[in-house]
């Protein structure tokens, strides 16, 4: 690599560099003694996220390759990075009061959030299995610590331990699959893998094994059934802002690599994995929807709900093609708004002695706080997929992609599961609106929390009412990658 190529590569990866630099700055800033420390840390982190977002938007345009083709900034990467920035900014905002309540206000907390962001950005941009793996591990390590941040809380510690062990297992499986692929294809470059796979006439047992290991590793990260066991415990035990972050950003990052690996590279051997993914998607929706019905803790319920949502989004992967890819991307963007919104509501309830994560804690909220109850109602109906909210359009577009490919029976199963899932969302609406309040509500509403709630609700409603622009962005992003990658390079 000559000097010019190195400089070019550095420019292309500026956003990642900014975020990592920011993480280090925040780490040191955390050592300051100041009454305003938390505001400074939040502000600094937000500034770096904004700088990275600005730098990323500067890279928009035709796909850019860096570091000898192992790192790419294309439509897919840009779209997912936008999701990560949004999720990170919202997470920072909803953390402000919570870290005080839980006594975990330290510089490392913010630094780790930024490290996780950097890891996810690398995942989205990786075009080489090793680069992807590096990003994956960077964000995973940051999350292991964040999940266990309430170290005096038994549940948080338990969650972190489970997450570390199962995360390590899944990373190991993924790595094993990766090594098998390398052995077969002789390269870890996704394009190279695609080229060598398309040359194979009949997939041998080693290839099947390799693909299955890759799938398993990734489905672990997605929390798809039967690799979902860690999700409820981790979601319940982790600090609530981290749960929110995990549920939207980490999941989106996992989907980013699923889309990249499966739909750009190993699509050549689609017949090996497509049936497995279909079965897993259905199981994931079923388990998520049915088990959520009996939960009494709202964080556990949202954990199962996120499993169900992951199953639904997997259907977009099954559909494939431009519509399939962009439907998953749009789904994840919308999910970010509505799910962070719902977690912001949970944080709003967390005040002093009130934990606010039991469903009964919401009894009668609408009587005393009609505005915040209405916001919650919008998030819940959006999660349930009822129009005119964005959640409906997300599901609708997945169904369009799915039926376009002829998977009508799968679409019917998906909507029936959705009807089941609707019950546990409207049950919370019921509790809020239709029961008399049993206690006095003292909401922990800080200006930052208000901002995040308003951003989330605006996104949830706006994408529902004018989905056109967002849809175009997703479609352009998806189309951009396809043009740049296999289709362009193989022909």
């Amino acid at each position: 690599m000559d000097q010019q190529a190195i400089i070019r590569s550095i420019i292309i990866s500026t956003p990642e560099i900014i975020v990592i630099f920011g993480a280090c700055v925040v780490l040191f800033a955390g050592l300051m003694r100041s009454k305003q420390l938390l505001n400074i840390l939040t502000g600094l982190s937000l500034i770096f996220v904004a700088l990275a977002a600005g730098a990323t938007s500067g890279l928009a345009g035709p796909p850019l390759l860096a570091y000898g083709g192992t790192f790419v900034v294309d439509g897919l990467a840009l779209f997912f990075k936008a999701i990560f920035f949004l999720a990170t900014a919202l997470t920072l905002l909803i953390s402000r009061r919570y870290v005080v309540e839980e006594n975990i206000a330290e510089g490392e907390y913010y630094a780790l959030i930024l490290f996780a962001l950097a890891g996810m950005m690398i995942m989205a941009s990786g075009r080489d299995l090793l680069v992807i793996y590096m990003g994956l591990e960077l964000q995973a390590l940051a999350f292991y610590v964040l999940v266990g941040y309430q170290r005096r809380d038994a549940k948080s510690t338990e969650a972190a331990l489970k997450y570390v062990i199962l995360g390590a297992v899944s990373s190991g499986i993924f790595l094993y699959g990766l090594s098998l692929v390398y052995g077969l294809a002789g390269t870890t470059d996704l394009m190279g893998i695609a080229a060598s796979l398309s040359a194979e006439e009949q997939p041998g047992p080693a290839l099947i094994l390799a693909i299955l290991f890759l799938i398993t590793g990734l489905l672990f990260k997605l929390g798809a059934v039967p690799f979902h066991m860690w999700v409820p415990d981790v979601y319940e035990g982790a600090p609530t802002p981290i749960t929110a972050y995990l549920s939207v950003a980490s999941k989106a990052a996992a989907f980013a690599i699923v889309l990249r690996i499966f739909l750009e590279s190993v699509i050549q051997v689609e017949n090996i994995w497509i049936d497995a993914v279909i079965i897993i998607a259905v199981l994931t929706m079923a388990v998520g929807s049915f088990v959520a019905l009996v939960q009494t803790n709202i964080k556990r319920m949202l954990a199962y709900s996120s499993i169900a949502h992951a199953g639904f989004a997997l259907l977009g992967v099954v559909a494939g093609g431009q519509d399939g890819v962009s439907s998953v991307m749009l789904y994840l963007l919308i999910y970010t708004f509505m799910n962070v919104g719902m977690f912001a509501v949970i944080i709003m309830m967390r005040n002093g002695a009130v934990r606010g994560d039991e469903i009964d804690d919401y009894t009668g909220l609408a009587t005393s706080h009609p505005v915040w109850a209405l916001l919650t109602l919008i998030f819940l109906f959006s999660l349930a997929g009822i129009p005119p909210t964005a959640g409906f359009f997300a599901k609708f577009y997945i169904l369009v992609a799915l039926i376009d490919q002829g998977y009508v029976a799968l679409a019917v199963i998906a909507v029936l599961m959705n009807a089941v899932a609707a019950y546990f969302y409207i049950r919370i609406v019921m509790v809020m609106y239709m029961k008399a309040p049993s206690r006095h509500f003292d909401l922990a509403l800080t200006p930052m929390l208000r901002v995040s709630l308003i951003v989330a609700v605006t996104g949830t409603v706006a994408i529902g009412i004018v989905p056109g622009w967002f849809l175009d962005q997703a479609q352009n992003a998806a189309f951009g990658t396809q043009q740049a990658s296999i289709i362009g390079l193989l022909r």
């Binding site: 609408a366 009587t367 009609p370 109602l377 109906f381 009822i386 129009p387 005119p388 409906f392 609708f396 577009y397 169904l399 369009v400 039926i403 376009d404 009508v408 679409a411 019917v412 909507v415 029936l416 959705n418 009807a419 609707a422 019950y423 409207i426 049950r427 609406v429 019921m430 609106y433 239709m434 029961k435 004018v466 989905p467 056109g468 849809l471 175009d472 479609q475």
Partner: protein, 488 residues
């Protein structure tokens, strides 16, 4: 005049009025504001009917704007002879609902009225939509305010009823959604209702889509055996909720058949007509018998709705002019009459706080005007000549006999049943010894209630004696529809 988006104004005026309500502090002012908004909306709807040209089946007052270009979704609205009637009915019942809730709703008045306004926008949107996606958005979005209306201001068992209503309707609607997307691809990627009506769809696909639509519409109508949410929802809902349910929501199922199943899936409609007619016949008789056995005023009317809506679906699937005309007219009639009957139950419930028929008796002596008007609407419900019910039912019956003698005979039996349960209701509530002591605080209809009831009464007599204006509006559209079903 040209270029004025009359339909959009009618649809969105109620929602646009919400900020006004939010500014008001006083409950009384909120009521007046909601009433004013809905009365203006009603006047606009009246203007729409008057300006409507009844000689053509073409969609009028069309507005089209691209909504989601990438998927070919547009915001398209328009009305033909069928939908214009239901826009009018919805707008009429809208302000009547406000009057019906004037005293009955005394907690969270503002929230209630906002829900009512949102509901009104969605309902009007359903009848105006010319884009399937837009239709579905309105159709499904209605669940939110209705769920809240039943669940918050309903009776003792309101939560169960609200959740049951929500889940039944949702499950049906989601299959409808899959059907819509299938149609979208089969017809070359369009959600345009008018284009879909012209599309040639292979029979095998028609049957599947028809079944998906059938589930959604059957839940909404409701047809036996998916009618069980209705009695619960009706009984638990506040009066306004019952009026909306009976007057407008139930019509939407039948409207779905008219707008989608028949013209878009003509072959499947004919193929499945015996099934639908059999289900309708069962609904007519079964609903009638169930109504006969009820001790609760609202339940009785709810089951009578099942029976009456059976006539509607029966008429729709006879595929002849009389049957169709009768069915659509009967939809309108049922909205007027059943809406009025629920209003009456609400009025007496406000005074006595009981809906048990056994608690009543001899109302004639205490509240004569109330009893008289109740009797009048009961007669309309059992289709006595001179009321609107007679015209509609007669047309349906003649259509049913043209379809098959046995079908006609079953329908006649249903008509007789309706006389049995309505007369029994009148006898037990109005006649006989009075069940209330002398100092009972019962008062007759006040001015507000009269204002709510009179327009409904006018329509009962008007259609009963001179239905031609209504049939004239319907005729071109229904003939066009019949052409689409049978003509090819």
């Amino acid at each position: 005049m040209a270029g004025f988006p009359l339909l959009s104004v009618i649809i969105f005026l109620p929602v646009a009025g919400i900020p006004l309500l939010l500014l008001l502090k006083d409950d009384e002012a909120v009521r007046w504001a909601a009433l004013a908004i809905l009365v203006i909306d009603f006047l606009l709807a009246t203007w729409l009917v008057l300006a409507f040209d009844p000689v053509t089946p073409v969609m009028q007052f069309q507005e089209r704007t691209v909504w989601v270009a990438a998927l070919g979704i547009s915001y398209a609205v328009g009305v033909d002879g069928i939908s214009v009637l239901f826009v009018f009915l919805t707008a009429l019942l809208g302000w009547i609902c406000v009057l019906a809730s004037w005293k009955a709703i005394d907690v969270n008045v503002k929230t209630f009225m906002i829900n009512l306004l949102v509901m009104q926008t969605f309902m009007l949107g359903v009848f105006c939509a010319l884009d399937l996606f837009l239709f579905y958005v309105f159709w499904e979005a209605m669940l939110i305010p209705m769920y809240v209306i039943i669940g918050v201001w309903g009776g003792d068992n309101r939560i169960y009823a609200a959740i049951k209503f929500f889940l039944y309707t949702l499950a049906g609607s989601l299959l409808f959604l899959v059907g819509i997307v299938v149609l979208y691809f089969v017809s070359g990627r369009t959600f345009d209702i008018l284009a879909l009506m012209e599309a040639e769809i292979p029979f095998s696909i028609q049957t599947w889509v028809f079944l998906a639509f059938l589930v959604a519409f059957a839940v909404k109508v409701p047809m036996v055996p998916v009618h069980t949410w209705l009695p619960d929802a009706h009984v638990q809902a506040p009066t306004a909720g019952s009026i909306i349910l009976a007057g407008v929501l139930l019509k939407m199922g039948a409207y779905g058949f008219l707008r989608f199943s028949l013209p878009m899936l003509p072959d499947a409609s004919q193929y499945f007509a015996p099934l639908v007619i059999a289900l309708s016949a069962i609904a007519i008789v079964y609903g009638g018998f169930l109504a006969l056995a009820q001790d609760d005023l609202k339940k009785l009317i709810a089951y009578s709705s099942v029976s009456h809506m059976g006539f509607v679906t029966l008429g729709l699937f006879t595929f002849n002019t009389n049957g169709l005309n009768g069915a659509v007219l009967q939809m309108f009639n049922h909205g007027i009459v059943t809406g009025a009957l629920f209003l009456f139950v609400g009025i007496i419930y406000e005074r006595t706080h009981t809906r048990q028929i056994a608690d009543y008796g001899g109302l004639m002596k205490i509240v004569p005007i109330y009893t008289l008007l109740l009797g009048f609407f009961s007669l309309a419900s059992m289709a006595v000549p001179g009321t609107n019910g007679f015209i509609g039912e007669l047309l349906v019956l003649s259509g049913a006999f043209a379809w098959g003698k046995a079908t006609g005979a079953v329908a006649i039996a249903g008509a007789m049943l309706s006389a049995a349960y309505m007369l029994r209701l009148i006898r037990r509530v109005s006649l006989g010894p009075t069940a209330f002591g002398n100092p009972e605080p019962l008062w007759d209809l006040d001015r507000r209630e009269m204002v709510a009831i009179l327009p409904l009464a006018i329509f009962v007599i008007w259609i009963g004696f001179y239905p031609m204006p209504f049939l004239n509006i319907l005729d071109p559209s229904l003939n066009h529809l019949l052409m689409q079903v049978v003509g090819r």
